[in-house]
């Protein structure tokens, strides 16, 4: 660590000509960097690699489901694929992607020189690769990886082999990384804003991350506690969840979903934040209803802790409990609706243009609302009892997670790529990426609503023959969607190699401190706090 210390001090010691002071050369530079931009870049690349790994696993799933019967994989391996697909996509792809955005953009948005704890930031990132190796490596151990689904429900998770232990340790490590990252983000936002950047003038992306980071700190340790209890049930003779010893497996579901529902908003809120920047920029208007947006974010964050048992309507909870959780869940639609209406109103009478970031933001707006609507359908107890564990649920959460969070991440990536690399991406290729993604996404997931309504259960490698046609359509869409994502890789690589030089503010409608910096953003920025004026603010005024 001494070397890191030196680099760090050196990098900041002579700030007069800071453009020449970067990270140490070679691979060790990446290991030891404490620069928020380097770490943001590493988060983004890590998440994209994990996205491709998790995506390949989903293609194993869709390949097997192309036709009824067992074609390519055993049922055990199928279960491992769907479990790892979910864990990798949630913890390895989507969450690190938005942490990457946070690292890159939050200091530049609030006028801070770096994150509050630069060295802890390095550690937050470098915990991720070991966790990823534990998760993917568990496929190679006897008995294979965890095959419980990402929810890790006992009794199955108490009984499985060593792959389960590896998944538990991976969750521990990922949790530590998230908590450290969150502490860093909260401290940065609360303590390191430039003078004049008051909380209620802060860009919306910072607001969403502030609430998200609180959600992470409150909920990730609960998941860590739950899997620790699983671990002691497995190896140390405790009976937290083991019914034979007086434990209760349903208790695990309560604890898991007490974490799991805030987790949904941990993923969704930063996505809301990105979209709240992109839509105003391409509408040439300020964000409509800034204050109501802030309160809506806080309300969503708070309510998310009180709706967990809507995942558990069929576990035998009493009717009063079902009714409470139903009404509480429906209540979340109110602040979410406020946000959707604000985005739409932002576009109202705006001068809209449809570059790739705007297209992805609109795709997000449209499809996330579809996913939210099916979520309301599922929230209704009487309906959910029929649809529980069917493909309707799978369709619902992929509309929210893929068309919601992932599309928002793409909107953000295309929006800020010129700032990161200093060059414009290939607009035509970006549009191809968007249109193939949105078409194939709907081909893949819309038929799953019909499958679920017809009663096809999720998490099975085989199915009754009447489901064949829709599954074939869905698989074709999934492969199309999967390969479309390689277009994004092509766009980014092409952008890194060359392209039209980007202006400091390549989007004429964009506002915010980050656009006052040259493109690409210098290695060190805002070492002297900027003067925040009204025209810099991304917030509506």
């Amino acid at each position: 660590m001494q070397a890191s210390h030196d680099t760090h001090d050196h990098a900041h010691g002579d700030h007069g000509d800071h453009a020449h002071h970067g990270r140490a050369p070679g691979l060790m530079g990446w290991f030891m960097t404490t620069n928020h931009k380097d770490i943001g870049t590493m988060y983004l690349w890590f998440s994209f690699v994990m996205f491709l790994v998790g995506g390949a696993m989903s293609l194993v799933i869709r390949g097997e489901l192309f036709s009824p019967g067992l074609q390519f994989v055993s049922p055990e391996f199928y279960n491992q694929m769907l479990t790892l697909h979910a864990l990798i996509m949630v913890f390895g792809a989507i969450m690190p992607a938005f942490v990457g955005f946070a690292n890159w953009m939050i200091p530049m948005m609030i006028g801070a020189p770096d994150m509050a704890f630069a060295r802890m930031n390095n550690w937050s990132f470098w915990l991720l690769p070991p966790a990823a190796i534990l998760l993917t490596g568990s496929l190679l151990v006897p008995g294979g990886a965890a095959g419980t689904g990402w929810t890790l429900y006992p009794p199955l998770s108490v009984q499985m082999g060593i792959g389960m232990d590896m998944a538990i340790f991976a969750v521990h490590i990922l949790g530590m990384s998230s908590i450290m990252g969150s502490i860093n983000i909260i401290t940065t936002i609360l303590n390191m804003r430039a003078p004049g950047m008051t909380l209620m003038r802060m860009p919306m992306f910072c607001w969403t991350w502030l609430v998200t980071a609180f959600l992470l700190i409150a909920s990730m340790p609960i998941l860590a506690g739950a899997v620790t209890m699983l671990l002691t049930d497995r190896h140390f003779g405790t009976s937290f969840f083991n019914a034979a010893g007086g434990g209760d497996p349903v208790l695990f579901q309560h604890i898991f979903w007490f974490f799991g529902h805030p987790e949904v908003y941990i993923i969704a809120l930063p996505a809301f934040g990105v979209v709240s920047h992109v839509i105003p920029a391409f509408s040439r208007k300020h964000l409509f209803g800034y204050t109501s947006m802030v309160y809506a974010i806080a309300a969503i964050g708070l309510i998310s802790f009180f709706v967990w048992a809507h995942h558990m309507y069929v576990t035998g909870i009493p009717l009063t409990g079902q009714l409470y959780f139903m009404y509480a869940t429906l209540l979340i639609a109110v602040p979410t609706g406020v946000k959707v209406f604000n985005w739409i109103t932002t576009m109202w009478r705006g001068e809209l243009t449809f570059e790739t970031p705007m297209l992805f933001a609109l795709g997000f707006l449209f499809l996330f609302t579809v996913g939210g609507l099916t979520g309301l359908v599922l929230a209704i107890t009487a309906v959910d009892i029929q649809l529980q564990d069917t493909y309707y649920v799978v369709a619902h959460f992929h509309y929210v997670m893929v068309a919601g969070a992932l599309f928002s991440a793409y909107a953000g990536a295309y929006f800020w790529l010129p700032k990161w690399t200093g060059r414009m991406y290939d607009e035509a290729l970006g549009k191809v990426h968007f249109w193939t993604s949105i078409v194939f996404f709907n081909v893949a997931f819309f038929p799953q609503h019909f499958l679920g309504l017809a009663g096809m259960p999720r998490r099975i490698p085989d199915y009754a023959t009447q489901f064949t046609d829709f599954n074939m359509v869905s698989s074709i869409g999934a492969f199309g969607f999967g390969f479309s994502q390689l277009i994004f890789l092509w766009v980014v690589l092409k952008n890194i190699k060359g392209g039209e030089v980007a202006l400091a503010k390549p989007w004429d409608g964009a506002t915010g401190l980050e656009w006052t910096l040259p493109s690409p953003a210098p290695y060190h920025t805002f070492e002297d706090p900027p003067v925040v004026t009204e025209e810099h603010l991304a917030a509506a005024h």
């Binding site: 020189p113 303590n191 340790p221 209890m229 909870i317 409990g321």
Partner: protein
């Protein structure tokens, strides 16, 4: 502000340690859930964690009954005895009793046990889950075998019945499965005392 990041402001550490405490509290919060969960469920009565025990209790909460067992043979070379001649039980309770059979002959004997009940109208209230009387039994020469009956008494057993006698009589099945016909030694084996086989339904 020249040396920006060489020293982290003390205020940052204060926020970070406060947030760390929240994280630790959250972790501990997970571990207090098992006792809280149990207490909450017992207090509200929702999700009765004692439900399974109560269910078993309800099975044996019936009326006390004395059960008597009796064993006879008719024209076979078998010695047939009940290992337990009487027991106290409750209606609704599932019990198992054993009978012993010894083949006294030098040849294979095929027999069928036929039950009878005293009082006779108790027959409809003895619910057998399994019984050696459900099928023919083949005994090798000199074989000794212990055979079970698993049954419960119906809760609707008439109030005037306080004692139920279950009696079995073994009959030889000539030419039965595995039988060696014409070898019945001791055809007039002494009939044990007790109620006479009536041949009522099994």
């Amino acid at each position: 502000m020249p040396t920006v990041m060489t020293a982290i402001p003390a205020n940052n550490y204060r926020i970070a340690s406060g947030l760390s405490l929240v994280a630790i509290a959250s972790f501990l919060f997970a571990f207090v859930q098992p006792p809280l969960y149990r207490a909450f469920c017992e207090w509200t009565g929702i999700y009765d964690v004692q439900k399974a025990d109560e269910f078993r209790g309800s099975l044996i909460a019936g009326r006390p009954i004395t059960m008597e067992f009796d064993a006879n043979t008719h024209g076979t070379g078998l010695r047939f005895t009940a290992l337990q001649t009487s027991m106290a039980m409750h209606t609704g309770e599932l019990v198992q009793v054993n009978f012993r059979v010894e083949n006294l002959t030098n040849s294979t004997v095929t027999g069928q046990a036929v039950p009878s009940y005293g009082p006779k109208h108790a027959a409809n209230f003895v619910k057998k889950l399994d019984c050696f009387c459900f099928r023919q039994q083949v005994f090798a020469p000199g074989e000794v075998r212990v055979m079970p009956v698993v049954f419960a008494l119906d809760r609707n057993l008439p109030e005037d019945i306080g004692t139920v006698t279950l009696s079995y009589t073994f009959f030889e099945v000539p030419g039965g499965i595995g039988s060696n016909s014409g070898n019945s030694v001791g055809t007039n084996a002494p009939a044990a005392t007790g109620s006479t086989a009536t041949g009522s339904g099994i």
